[in-house]
Each structure stands twice: as C-alpha cells, then as structure tokens.
Subunit: 373 residues, 4 copies
Amino acid sequence: MSSSWGNLIHIQIFGESHGGGIGVVLDGLPAGYPIDMDMVLLQMKRRAPGQDLTSTARKESDSPEVLSGMLDGRTTGAPLAALIRNKDTRSGDYKNLMKLPRPSHADYTGHVRYSGFNDVRGGGHFSGRLTAPLVFAGAVCRQILLCHGIHIGSHIRAIAGKEDTPLDPVTVDAVQLDELSQQFFALVDPKAEDAMRLEVEKARLDCDSVGGIIECAAVGLPAGIGSPMFDGMENRIASLVMGIPAVRGIEFGTGFAAASMRGSEHNDAFVPGDGQVRTLSNHHGGVIGGITSGMPLLFRTAFKPTASIAKPQQTIDLTSGKQATLVIKGRHDPCIVPRALPVVEGAAAIAILDAMMELGKIPPYEGGRNHDA
Amino acid sequence: MSSSWGNLIHIQIFGESHGGGIGVVLDGLPAGYPIDMDMVLLQMKRRAPGQDLTSTARKESDSPEVLSGMLDGRTTGAPLAALIRNKDTRSGDYKNLMKLPRPSHADYTGHVRYSGFNDVRGGGHFSGRLTAPLVFAGAVCRQILLCHGIHIGSHIRAIAGKEDTPLDPVTVDAVQLDELSQQFFALVDPKAEDAMRLEVEKARLDCDSVGGIIECAAVGLPAGIGSPMFDGMENRIASLVMGIPAVRGIEFGTGFAAASMRGSEHNDAFVPGDGQVRTLSNHHGGVIGGITSGMPLLFRTAFKPTASIAKPQQTIDLTSGKQATLVIKGRHDPCIVPRALPVVEGAAAIAILDAMMELGKIPPYEGGRNHDA
Amino acid sequence: MSSSWGNLIHIQIFGESHGGGIGVVLDGLPAGYPIDMDMVLLQMKRRAPGQDLTSTARKESDSPEVLSGMLDGRTTGAPLAALIRNKDTRSGDYKNLMKLPRPSHADYTGHVRYSGFNDVRGGGHFSGRLTAPLVFAGAVCRQILLCHGIHIGSHIRAIAGKEDTPLDPVTVDAVQLDELSQQFFALVDPKAEDAMRLEVEKARLDCDSVGGIIECAAVGLPAGIGSPMFDGMENRIASLVMGIPAVRGIEFGTGFAAASMRGSEHNDAFVPGDGQVRTLSNHHGGVIGGITSGMPLLFRTAFKPTASIAKPQQTIDLTSGKQATLVIKGRHDPCIVPRALPVVEGAAAIAILDAMMELGKIPPYEGGRNHDA
Amino acid sequence: MSSSWGNLIHIQIFGESHGGGIGVVLDGLPAGYPIDMDMVLLQMKRRAPGQDLTSTARKESDSPEVLSGMLDGRTTGAPLAALIRNKDTRSGDYKNLMKLPRPSHADYTGHVRYSGFNDVRGGGHFSGRLTAPLVFAGAVCRQILLCHGIHIGSHIRAIAGKEDTPLDPVTVDAVQLDELSQQFFALVDPKAEDAMRLEVEKARLDCDSVGGIIECAAVGLPAGIGSPMFDGMENRIASLVMGIPAVRGIEFGTGFAAASMRGSEHNDAFVPGDGQVRTLSNHHGGVIGGITSGMPLLFRTAFKPTASIAKPQQTIDLTSGKQATLVIKGRHDPCIVPRALPVVEGAAAIAILDAMMELGKIPPYEGGRNHDA
C-alpha cells in the first residue's frame, strides 16, 4: 500500500499531479455530522498555490466535488469521496525529468520503486499537490472534532531560521487556535512576518528555496485518548505527518530539547484543575505513554527547503548513467511552509478523530434521528 | 489495539512489568532463516538492566524462551513466540502509585485510559521493561536482513548535552555499524564517554535523571524500498520508534537542521557509483519521498530524561483530588539512553524487514529446501 | 470501516446509488502492467443492468473514468482510482422507503447503523449498484493475474433450483474459464438456460424474484499461495465475497456435501504430474489449510432471491412504529445471479492477486523498464 | 501474516503441535471486565481431546497460563497473553510425514508455502491443536459479551448425514444457548445422539472418519452492529471461521437453501416487538447488508471428515517424486465436530465483540473505577 491510512477512520488518497484528478475517500466517518463546505474551502484555499510570492505561480482553484458520503450537508456514514480536477497542467515543463532526476526529489526513488513506470509528470503521485486531498480530509475531520470541543491550529514556528514566538504549551486555547487556523501566514507574533518573508524573497531571487518549522496544537482533548506502544497519539500523528512531502522530523512537547534536560526540570507536576487534573508545565506536550493527559497536545514538524529549485544542479542521466546538469523549468514554491499549515493541522485532525473513535468517544450526531425507539 | 504493529511482519508485544511474563509474537517471518541465539542474547544483554551505574539496579536475566516458530535453529514460517519471565519484582515499592501518579509517567494517563483497572505494578504494560521483547523481535529481524547484506547500528549521539561525533551519512559502512551494534555504550568517538558518564553520575547523585539522543543508521538497503505517503520508510520507522517509552522526537537525515537551510545546500547531487546511483552528500538520510535511495538510511531520536526520579515531586492524590508530595522508592535508571540503543536498532530492523517483504525482496532462504521440483 | 479491503492490494469502494458517482481506488497495484480497457468494459457490461428480462430496466452505461494510476495504458503503481457517474436515477421512486423499510433489505439495518442519516435513495451505499466498482477492480486485477497464467471464470450453477452441470474440479482449464468469463448467462451446459430463464420469467410475472448459486474457479495458481488460519485463501475470498449484496453462503471444493462424506472418500490422493504434484480428485477445491495446492481453486456462493419485489409486503412504519403495507415501485431485478457472475469472478481475482503479492510472486512487469543498471 | 486477526480486538495465535507451547494474545480488550477462569476452562475442556471415542486418544490437560492482561480476575486493558504447554507429544509418530504428505492435509501445501522449513511434527502450526488458543480467546470475549446480554451457543446440526433438529431462528433464546454452550455433544434433540455416535464408531472401526455441520446462534445483539460490504458481520465471522481447520463452508440464515426460494417466501416481514422492531420469520439469520437486525444471528458451518485416517492411502514421496502408500500411525479423531463446537462459538464471540467495540458499544466496566472526577 502507500496512500492509505487509519484504523477506524480510513483515508485513501489518490491522484497524480497531471492526471485526471486527485482526491480522497474517507471511510468510517460517523453519520449525521454537519459539514460546512465553506470551512472546508477555507482550508483548501490556505493550501492552494499562487497566493503570494512564497508559492508557485501554478493556479489551481482546488474546488473539491463531493461524490458520496454526504447528503443535505451531513455525513451519511458511507465512504465520503471527494474529487479535485487538475486544470493548470503544463506537462511539457517536466518532460526531461524521467531522464534527469531532480536532486532530493522522489523522481529517482520513485523511478526505481515503480520500475520506470510511474507517472513523472509534475511529480506524479509524489507531488506536493497530493496534500490537497489530505487538507480536505482533515477539514472534514476537524469539524467533527469541533462538535466535541476539540480545536486544532498551527503557526509558522520558523522559516529559514527566523523564528516566531512559540505557542505557550500551558495557556494555548481554543480562541488562539481558531484564529491561527484561519490565516494563511499564521503567526503567534505578527511582527515575525517581515523577517521570514525577506528570507523567502531572497531565496526566490537567488533561484533557491528555504525550509521551516510548523508548530501545531490541539486543545479540548479529553485525557485517556490513545493507546500504549504503537497506537499512541505520537505514533499515529507521526505516521500521518511523515507522509507530507518535505517533512524531515517531528517532535512532541519539548521534543529534542528534552534530551538536554534533567528529569526534575522536564517532569510536569500534576495539580488539581477545574474538575480535571492538570500539569503546571507541559513539557510532555499533552501525551504521556501515547495517551492524552488533557493538557494541550503540541508538536513541531520540520520541513526541508523545497527540492525543486531553478538553480542549475548536478544530477545523473538515467539513460546513459553519466553525469549531467539539470535546469528545472517548472513553477515551484521558494518556501512551502505557509501552505503546509492546513496540511499539518489536517493530519492532526485525522489522527485525533481516529483515536477518539477507537475509544467510542464520537457518538452518532446528537444521538441520531432514528424514528424508532 | 496498542502493542501490535506491521503489515507483512506482524509484531505483537505483551506483558506487564510485574506479571507472569513479557514477550512477543512475530508473525509473517520468512521460513528457513537461521537465527543465532547468541546474537539475540547479545542484543538482549545490551538492553538488560543492572550493568553499570547508568541503569537501574533491578536484575533480570532476560533470557527469552522461544515457544514456537523455530526448529533446529531456523525460522519455520509460523508465528515465532518468545517469552521472558519476570523474576526480580518487588511490587511493594509501587503500591502507592495508583494513588499518587508519577509526573510525566503514564501512571495517570494509563489510569484514565483503562478506567483504573490497569496493572500499575512496576509501570505495568507502560514499563520500559516492555522494550525487551522489542529488542528480541528486532534481533531476529536484523539477522534476516544480514542475510541480504543489510547492517544496522547506532550510537549515543548525546547525553545531557554532551555530544559524540556524528556518523558520517555518506561513508558510514557495515564494518562501523557492526562494531557499534555490539557495544553497550556505543560511541563513534570513545573519548566522548567520560563526559557523558560524568553527567549521568551527577544526576544520579542528585536523585535526578538525564536524557539524550540516539543516532541510528542502516546500510546495504537497495534503492526503491518503501512507498509514498503513509507507508514510507520514515512513517514506518517513526510509528515503531514512537512506541519506545521516553522517545519525544525523530528526525531523518539532516532533520530539523534542514529547516534552516537553503535548497541549494540541502539538495544531494546524484553521481554515478559502482553500478548504482549515489549522492555526493546525504542530507536526505537515505530516504526520499518515503523510498530508499540506496544511500545510508539515517535517523536520530530524542529521549527525555527518565520520569522516575528519587527527588520528592509534586503530584495529585487521585483518591482525594488534593495536592500531594511523591517520593519514588523503586529502582530506576538515571539515564536510559545506553540501554535504548538495541531498542532503536531493533525497531529499525523490524520496519526495514517489513518494507523489504512488502516488495517481495526477501525470498525463501537459499531458495528453500523443497524436495519436489 | 466498511468498504475497504486488503493487505497488499487495497480496495476502497465508495458511492451511493443516487449520489454524484460511485467508484473504487485500488492501492498497491504492481507497476507497468498493461490494462486493456476493452476487457474491463466487457466485465462491466456483463454486470450492467437492462440487458434482458432477468434484470432491472434501469439503464446505466457504467463507463468508468480512470482518474489516476494509469498512464499510456499501464499501471503506474500509484493508487488507481475509477469513477462511474450515476445517470438514470429516479429518486422519487424511493421516497417512502425511509418510513417503510423493505423486508430483507438493508433499509432498516442501515437506518439503525447510521442513526437515520444514511442516504436511502436507491438503497444508498447498500445498493447492488456498488458492485460495479468491485467488477472494475476485479477486471483490473484479473488482467495482472493473466500475465502470470492465472485464469478465472464462473457459471450459473443453479437458478431457482434449476441446475447447470457442475465444473469438473479436476479437468477445468483456462480455455473453459476464459470462455465462461466472457458470457452474460454463463453455463457449462447451454441446455440448462431455458429452464432457468423460465423460472425467472415466471417470478417476474408474479411480481416476485428468485435466487441461485454461482460456481467459480481459478486455474494456473501455483501451489503454496495463502497462509494458515486467518489469511488462508478461503478466508480472503470469503471476506470479499460476503460483501456482495445477497450472498448468504460460500463453500470451497466439495463444501457442505463433504460433511456427509467419509475421509476415505473425501481425501484426494496425491499423484505425480507434469513437473508438479497433483491430486486424483479435487474435493479440497485447490486449497488445503488455507494454502493453494496447485489444483483448480473452486468455490460456490449462494445468492438469496432479490429482496425488492413488486408484491405488496408487510413491514413497519418507522415513524409510527405501527404495521404497514409496502408496495415497491422502483425497477428491480427478478434475479441478480447472471449479473453477479463478473462480481464473484472479480472478488476472486482481487483476493488471489493480494495473496500472490504477499508472497512476492508478482514481480515488476517484465522486469521493469529502468534505465539505470 | 496468517494467525493474526481483528480490527479493535486483535487476536494473535501462535504455536506448533509439538513445540514449546501454543497460545494467544488478545490485544484491545476493554479494561475491568471480570473473567471467570472456570468458565474459560469449561470451554477448553469441551475442545480437549481424549474425552470419548469420537476423538483422538492424545491427552492434553490444556490448562492455560495467563501471562499478562489480567489482574485480580479482571482484564487490565493491556494485551492478554495465554500460554498452553504441549505435553503428550510423540513426534516419532510423524517422522515420515515430511516425505509422505497426508492426502487432504496441509502437509503438502505447508511444505511448499514454507519451502520445506515448516515444523511438520504433529501438523505443526496447521494442527487442530491450534484451535485451543482460539477457544481460550473466544471464552474470554464471550464473557465480556455476556455482561452486555449477548449469549452464544451451538449444536451439532449433523454428523455423517445424521441430523439434529435445527435451532428455531425466531425463538432461540439465551436459556437454550447457555445450556447448549456447556455441553460436549450439544444437541437440540438429545435423541439424535445415538445415530450420530453410531456413524462415528463405524467409521472409527473402519479406520476412517466422518464430517458434519455445526449450527451456531447469538442472541441479545442490538440492531445496527456491523458495517456494509467488507466489514459486515458475515465477512468478519466467515474470515475467522474459515481459519478453523477442516471448515469447508459457511452459510448465514437460510443460506444455500435460499438460492432455491422466491423473494416472497424468503423475505422476512417486519413487525413491532417489545420496544424493538422484529421480523416474523428469520431467513436473514439476524444480518442484513452486513448489519445486525436485532433478531437471532444464525450461521452454519461445514466440516469435512478428518483428513488423517488410519486406512492406507495413496500419496507421493516428496524426495523421489514417485507414488507411495501412506499408513498414518498417529492418534487422530474419527470426527472432530463435537470438539469444534466451542471453537465455532469462540470465533463468533471474537467477531461480535470486535464489531461491538468498533461502534463504541462496549464501555469501560460499570463506568470504570476511576478515583478522579
């Protein structure tokens, strides 16, 4: 398999960048939940290209057609399929890629994996475009979570080393996350924007690219969600987030920085809260032993700089086996981090909904509208 | 589920720290592969407690009994089950834990998850002791991989901020990894040991603990292994490694540092090699788009400081809901990083074998010993 | 989940009878295999309604649009998605079904399962129409199997008690199965057709329906495919075939009749064949202990009479809880057995391909067209 | 994989007939449920060999040791592992089996599947002995179901063509099923016993064996359990039951006989019941469209005659490829049907619990014993 994920909620993504269309099937959704398509489209738009100079000039309206699983604005419980047509495709730009694989792009590994038969046009199934259906799926799942008081949001923690103020892992709340989750260039401190954009623009003018870090949080999760060992919240989230192109790492709570700390610093003291146990600090990022503590769930994910850059690069000619120079002509993002915000949030939403459903925490909408006793 | 993992190779771990025993079932192993039990025991011993002052004084011989799936030293293809008895258990030490959950330990989250019915003695199913069966499983899988020229090893990249020389992601080879994978306190540069041990010892004397980072590599992997999106090598490895207690983050190749780099720095130029394509640098850590490139696979994983420390800590009394002070009397590791080396290597081995088998790359041993044509 | 199946080949079906469309995603297909769309359409046509008096008058061209996973007539290895639009929908016919569930139809159980939110128009996701994507998926898989010498076919073993000559479990071959698998009303003995059609026509004129039995076989399967216990060929095939609406039972080889036999009658003696072991008889239906023997694989599956009949029926009014009489006005099949032939064959193809891939028996097409050594 | 099953409840069976032991791990059980070991042992005893002349003379006490997942007689929520030691093993009896595969036994297919490396002693992993852990797992699951008012039982519907009175699919109730589920030679009409035993005894004296049919029912299941297509109750039960050695077919409700009926006969009219919808007849066997209707769930499963018979049989010598005569010396059952009753019931219990949990219908035991609000 490959583009298939989940236990209770099952996500099947399909499509290739320049094929007939891309899309997703969500199987196992609870029935009766209202899905506001405007909220879905807002998330799709956050990811869509062509919005400013940080992203590719490719224009895609990315309007999903819901083929099944919804009726009168509500989930039916049957698999929800959505299709997004590809429109602005210029395959000619990519015709030499089969011969000359782009460095650090899946051209080469995909070529070997699929014995040379994969669709290389526009990156094929490896294209960042395939994150659009993931955003769609996430936007559906997060609306179901919202009905249960769970809010998810993220911000650009850093681009090219220019940092935003971190989320406060103890005080981050629904209001802050809801606000962040509607912005394109979401930041805790808006003053961080100029320095970040400057780095992206410098890279763009240099025919180069930059990477960055996204920090994502979820609040409203009850304690006790997730399972030990391989079905913990971290495993689930990591196994989805690692599927987003360009992600190179993920850390929960204090993450890698915890490796330099002492236990007495890192341990989070339990304290009585309003009807629930809380912790004074939140180095654990809301998850201990794979299971939620009721504190905000928090993770960061690292994005490498976009592999497709306009600068001439050294590669190999797969037909001759000889050294070659590659000049990429397609349209590419100097920085994909802003567009990745709704992708990361969506992945978190899918993982959380799956874990909630596994424990029977998502009942039929408002108890259902059965006519019979 | 929880302690169950895999597609082709299926790992089922069971056990609680102070119960009748812990163990693992490996289903789906290829038949006929010779398993050298001494090599398995060597890995078990690397993880076993009580070896020096960095670890708990609990003594467990950890000798696994193979119950099924092996005959005459070879895998039979049927599920391979191994049982490790618990011996040196002193449950009395833990009797107040149900009331007073240890900060940053799964006592509390496990209590909520299992509605107060979980076995809390010694951490129950959340105990670090449950990594013993994972090491066993990994030790079996890595021997099968060795038959196909794949070598895995790791070193302590850092403890409490004291660093070892990193593995060279381009030149790391089978000889270096084989050597590392047999050591208890595995280091690239042995001179780093004293500084690390000093930090651990200081923490121990302070009734405290420290964390660290493990760097793991695999060489000999052919290009083209793994699948895009959710079944990539990173997803598989992360979904296993995140199941190791105390792990807080994972990064592949250059990882989080890539977020501050430019594409022209981070991209790895393709060059002709000896009968295979190689890259000049290896920021991609051997995996692009979820699929191996044939270069060394490399990842790092962050361990938080051990949660169980002897210092008095603030917690909550679950029976009264009031604030309380906890003094932990059990035996605990001031640093679990050295013991975690074979766990991380084992997790990598399982993930890699699973991915190899998915693509039919692990044939019957030496073509099988069928008697019929 | 629900409409999701598979280990190596993953099938995700979606759609509702009167929604935007129905379809399927096949994930995990091997790359490079040529797929002849005419062969796919032939199978779709065998299942399509409106061909004669045995089936509903609803007209659906059922022409699938391939959205992804194919390029230049070959599989790319990425998920293959196909969409079939719904056209001839007359939802008005079904508007009273939410109130008055059809006896022995999923109207009632679906209503409870989905808390009243399911799409009931035309049977929604429970419609027999959902077998169209299954046929598509099967038609793709069987072409891949054909490249490896595996042929699948079936015939109408019985309709309303009128029987066809059984397939000979020992001598059935590729020629016979290929011929059967292209016919609409496939029979071993064409003389059985009239009696069967007479029963169907009598039932139709009586506003009633009839059931039947389909017998399916596969030849060319190597010995040693499948796994013991829960991943045997029988388990895999049964778990798919039981998903076909109206199926009420499945039996392998001699099946239920074996229950009345003695071991000495039922056991199949092994004999030397042309380079492979064979059995003199084939009561085992080509599978022993879940694993293929190399003899023809053979199973039968029972279809109940179509639940939707025009006769007035007793049911319950879900709004009042009171007794009511239902008169169904939609267009329905007096017998779905002929249309189910390609569905059963398709299910068998999917299960067999999945099992073959699990053992690495489906290499890249002709070794791949990699340019690099 | 092979011996691994489940979505929410995960069952992993291991062991070989003459190895160190056999057992099972159940992962995903709800926490806090009391498990009465005497009830488990009763089911184990029903399956155990050596009870009368219908079964093998091999004596195995089959007393399971619970290694984990239970504390103070309750499930902890962690994986529940049970080990059954092999005692009365006489491997010498089987030493010529590798050379001379038993007709209709998995000796040959297992030999090919595992390239000659499988453990053939006593049938290895293919032995009927492997149903002991399945009975254990089922006995645990059925006790959890009992807490929710679900009762499962079965009877010998036929042996060697001698029939018992069928269960009444409408009136079968908890009292009848509880009674049946405690008997060794469970029958609806005890008068059927003599004729059945006579057939078994005749076969035994003829060095032969006989098959039979088991009919199993479950009552107390709420309506709305299960999912359409591939995760229906029939698919789940079939995929487990087909893993029981010697099973050749399964049918639900009226099953194969439905194929000869008309819709007007087979359709079950809905009628108002005591606070729930019922059907007048129950041809549908409690499941429509994969989902329970609230009526008794009912299925039958066919067992072939035991393959291992003492009569000389024709087989092939795998070393020479030549014809040979096999005389089996081991101890075998002339009829395994009576011993299979708790196996079939157990499989049904596992499948039903899994489906109930998928819909969140199994809450923590009595709301849990959490100390905190």
